[in-house]
Amino acid sequence: MTFQEILKERKFAITCEVSPPKGTEVSDLIGEIGDLQGRVDALNVTDGKSSVMAMTPLALSHLLQERGFEPILNMSCRDRNRLALQADLLGAAALGIRNVLVVTGDYASMGDHPQTKPVFDLDSVQLLQAIQSLQNGQDLGKNPLHGRPTFFAGATVSPIPNTEAALELQLVKMEKKIDGGAKFFQTQPVFDPRAFEHFMKRAGKFGIPILASVLPLKSASMARFLNKNIPGISVPEALIEEIGSASDRVKASIGISVRIIQELKGLCQGIHLIPAGWERKMPAILEAARL
């Protein structure tokens, strides 16, 4: 069953993030995610995550597809103008890639090429509209296409931002993304299912599949780093204590992720795993969460 079919039939979906390598060697990465075959429904392939230059996700998506995985091609608005974005979308469609996740993209100054010129010719809502237009057989310049693509497009939302304005703006933008053709959402990592429940009370009315992200908490220092530096992420103090005082940190970390997943199960239509280097531990987490 494809990712699209799973969501359409209102089944619980599992996706996992993979980041293309900095370089041409993909065999290590393919090895690390080997055990996820058959365990996850689709793999998100990131697009210059954190503004760090890496292989184009289009190529890795294709390679993963050849190996039996279903990719979700992430497309960021940071690096390409409307010509390049549409060109890559046509290329993706020609390669049989159907799932696309649209993101704005981190600002260039945060990455490893801070001198570059950030593009942001389109924003995420406009890119979704561009996808819709291509599917209708027309590019953004209103020119006809020879062969039109079919996509299953999604977008992201930050469910627990830390100001009232930010939450309201996220909800308004979410609605615009749905109007633009987004058929599913993936969120920022959730550590506090109660806070996520609060968000779902508002976002649930859209009736669109939402996959909550789960990021394994590897250590107390990682939790503090996330709280301090990553917007939209708030790790509760109790969890920091739990991981900090554990004698077996890996076991404790897996336990926390499993608990979060179990609480999220009843709240939304799927989870999105962000392994952050722990690709090989993902099957154990899914096993323990009975997924």
């Binding site: 409307r82 704005t104 993209g105 981190d106 600002y107 100054s109 945060m110 950030p118 942001f120 010719d121 389109l122 924003d123 995420s124 809502v125 406009q126 509209q129 561009a130 953004l140 992201t156 939302v157 930050s158 931002p161 830390n162 100001t163 304005a165 930010a166 309201e168 703006l169 996220q170 308004v172 933008k173 609605e175 615009k176 109007d179 633009g180 920022q188 917007p231 939209g232």
Partner: protein, 222 residues
């Protein structure tokens, strides 16, 4: 010298929204410094609006809209007409629009676009938050331009990078979209956030490029 051109009529009409009552404000401009058009252009636009059935509550032409004190005084004199209107349609450079929104507390739509500001900048003594994009988006944030206040220039709402209301690019600065949210909330214009804003027309900055080239050519002649 501030160079101005009219925004496309269809863009203005789209921003005005059907049925909204309009108070039309023009600017006489500073002789030889800018060309907002004054009374003559205002009357022309008024005629065009009336032809399309746009309800107009009144008109006003000020000497220099970039003078906040003058704006305040003049709006006070016309407060009945202003209060009867839903929107102020403003025929001035972006400085005039910003000065007006800082004092008027009303939703606005710019009728002109500022394509170049070289040299003297009218009666505005503050920072000039304008990117000279060749279009004008000051209506989206009632005088706060999303292109200027959001480093990513996002037109349909913020990214997910703000932390405690601070921008991901520079934590010393506020998230532009949260500023816009607060302003829209104060002025009862939150519905404006729902409007889909199409991708920018970058060809609109061509006049600016041509203008700069001609200034450069003049300079090399000397």
């Amino acid at each position: 010298m501030i160079s101005l051109e009219a925004r496309k009529s269809e863009d203005i009409f789209q921003d005005l929204e059907k049925g909204k009552r309009i108070f039309l404000i023009g600017c006489g401009g500073w002789k030889t410094l800018c060309n907002p058009g004054g009374e003559a252009q205002l009357q022309r636009l008024k005629g065009e609006l009336e032809q399309k059935g746009v309800p107009i509550t009144g008109t006003l032409v000020l000497d220099a809209l970039c003078n906040k004190g003058l704006d305040e005084l003049s709006l006070f004199r016309h407060f009945r007409q202003v209060l009867r209107s839903d929107l102020l349609l403003v025929m001035s450079c972006e400085l005039g629009v910003q000065a007006l929104t800082a004092t008027a507390g009303r939703m606005i739509v710019p009728a002109l676009r500022t394509i170049s500001v070289e040299g003297f900048h009218g009666g505005w003594k503050e920072k000039e938050p304008c990117r000279l994009c060749g279009d004008c988006f000051l209506n989206l944030g009632v005088g706060l331009c999303p292109l200027y206040f959001c480093p990513k220039g996002l037109l349909n709402g913020p990214c997910q990078g703000a932390n405690q209301g601070r921008c991901e690019v520079d934590s010393k600065k506020a998230c532009g979209w949260e500023l816009i949210y607060d302003r829209l909330k104060t002025q009862g214009g939150l519905d404006l956030l729902k409007r889909y804003v199409e991708a920018r027309d970058h060809s609109e900055i061509l006049p600016l490029i041509q203008l700069r080239a001609s200034v450069a050519a003049e300079m090399t002649k000397e």
